[in-house]
Symmetry: C2
DNA sequence: TATGGCTGAGATACCGGTAACTCAAAGCCG
DNA sequence: CGGCTTTGAGTTACCGGTATCTCAGCCATA
């Protein structure tokens, strides 16, 4: 009847600071000072304590330490919508690298675009006294907004630039970026354009981007023949079949703007495998400058957003704010249109 | 003036349990019981306490709670090598979903295949008394192995199945899976095969997979003309240029096995854009059944590994172990060969 | 009616560190 | 050499909860 419990160490046999202090013949407080590098001990004492730490294999209980000093933990709550979407994993990677390099740990939440789940996660994470929070997007549910606002920790909102952030904001101006792409589509001679995206974007930054794009199209005198929003993940195959559906109902379209490059790549594959020439029969534009864009038969037209950098900067801002350095409210990491070769009619159509 | 009793200035202005208890006219202990659902209070008392919780906006300090009960946190340390590699993000997604749904939080480490960084992260995470750990791979640095072994928390090793795990192991038999692919390549008529991978895999499971593959090739009487390992990330473009390099130095190769589908897709794009027919001129086999495989002009030959499930099962095992339920030492989540249409010479070459 | 179990609730003692205060001895100065 | 500052180190009081023990009522059963 031996269950797995006895396989592991008993709780009480963990060495604690008192054990170390006793073994070294000093007080707990002195041992604590040595370990934290605070002044107030002689080199000899230091050595004695460290010797015992080594010998006994003492590991600090940071739960106790943080609690005792009324301090924060070294955890930073990081909320992103989706791990299946490369843009977010890139941002996450930027965040994680910076945090880890600075001795902080990312506590992850993948919201799946579910506000309620996010809220729940947020409540839990806040109860652990995190050092800070990095959240994606600027449109929070009222309760979430309230929680973020009343929390005593610094918050960085990433993705879409926010002129009046809760605390700090790092991202790009999604509207402007969308506008730039719309303008380019018109410039390259497209007149009857369409949009393909997934429902995921509606509540998020893609909305602002989409608005910017629409404005540019309208201003340029072109027509939006249809916008097709599917209930699926923004991946390759989704782009493939969504394009099929789009072209079936609106064959007159001459260029498509996709929510991201992976959808666009799917669309590209559909088009070329069905005898359509890109861009002469149909123009294709993606978003995000994702890796796939580099290996398509023609360089994909897209907008480069420095996602990795966005994550890094967000983490940097948070850390600066934690160390009391002045940090900007708002940081624009910029975007860059990638002309590529999948847009443009009749002219400039070489590989 | 020793009126410290009443005018006790509190460091934090945060509402604590004592405040709630006072306001509700009960003892701290009773309030604690109500909030934790432990028995020992009347419905009326319960209501009074909850009313004050609501009114005062009390949020538990879990740092204090975990510390007081000598307990663990709800954090689970999760270490994966790379976020730029879809297979790992899929596993992570599986883990994260399950953990979050069960009230645990993933504390992320992206090791970048760096043992030292992992070690450092591990030390920090362990000092926060995590509930458990999920680590990728089975080949740990000696110091890491020691730390994992001596830690008082359950550990799940994922990826490659481990017959003698530290604690628990969830994954697939990478050797067998590699063997299956090797066998299939021989069966489909390939005689002079090659391998393309990145340095990232060497220290990890891809080694076992690679060994299995080699064994099958040898057993089948075929020749491995070259194995090309590049110092880069296992992404689309890497596969593209690595294939170019490979074909330049070994044009006689008739089939290539790639470390993953993204590399393979890059290779496919290179081959077809340079006038080679897949699979008649060159066979291409990937790994992981990644999304890209579905939109190539021909279905990519690959091996499906249930990454999402692997992550979910790993988290499940950990949670079971935490709740004292019996959990298996080793769980094989299985793999499945996907024949596709990018392997096979002269026959079976329709789309 | 006496005994004993059950239930709601309070009192107390921590958990493992750190902040803040205290104090003796040593160092420094004119 | 006295007084003042510095320095190494100890003492005490917590931080905000929970484990554990205690105890008064209350009900059921013999």
């Amino acid at each position: 009847m031996t269950d797995g419990l006895e396989k592991k160490k008993r709780k009480s046999d963990r060495v604690n600071l008192a054990d170390v202090a006793r073994a070294a013949g000093v007080s707990k407080m002195t041992a604590s000072r040595v370990l934290n590098g605070t002044k107030g001990f002689s080199p000899k004492t230091r050595e004695r304590v460290l010797e015992q730490v080594e010998k006994l294999g003492y590991v600090q209980n940071r739960l106790a330490a943080a609690f005792a000093s009324q301090g924060k933990s070294t955890f930073v709550g990081v909320s992103i919508p989706d791990l299946g979407n490369e843009v977010f994993t890139q941002v996450l990677e930027g965040i994680e690298r910076k945090l880890n390099a600075s001795g902080y740990q990312a506590v992850l939440c993948v919201s799946q675009y579910d506000g309620e789940a996010t809220q729940e996660w947020l409540e839990t994470v806040l109860s652990w006294q995190p050092a800070g929070l990095i959240v994606t997007g600027r449109n929070h549910a009222p309760a979430t907004r309230k929680l973020l606002k009343s929390s005593a920790v610094p918050v960085v909102e990433i993705w879409d630039l926010n002129s009046s952030p809760l605390d700090m904001s790092v991202g790009i101006n999604q509207y402007d970026a969308g506008y730039a792409m719309g303008q380019y589509m018109v410039e390259t001679g497209h007149q009857r354009v369409g949009y393909i995206g997934t429902h995921h974007d509606t509540a998020h930054s893609a909305t602002a981007r989409f608005e910017g794009w629409k404005a540019a199209i309208r201003t340029g005198g072109a027509t939006i023949v249809h916008t097709h929003v599917v209930q699926d993940t923004p991946g390759f195959y989704t782009g493939y079949y969504a394009t099929e559906q789009f072209l079936k109902s609106c064959p007159e379209v001459d260029a498509l703007f996709y929510q991201n490059d992976n959808l666009a790549a799917g669309g590209f594959m559909f088009a070329t495998s069905h005898g359509l020439d890109v861009p002469n029969d149909i123009g294709i534009a993606g978003w995000g400058d994702l890796p796939i864009g580099a290996i398509l038969p023609k360089r994909l037209t897209s907008v480069h957003v420095p996602h990795l950098r966005m994550g890094r900067v967000a983490a940097e801002q948070l850390l600066m704010s934690l160390s009391g350095e002045p940090s900007s409210d708002t940081i624009d990491v910029g975007f860059k249109l990638i002309p590529g070769h999948t847009l443009g009619r009749r002219n400039d159509t070489q590989v």
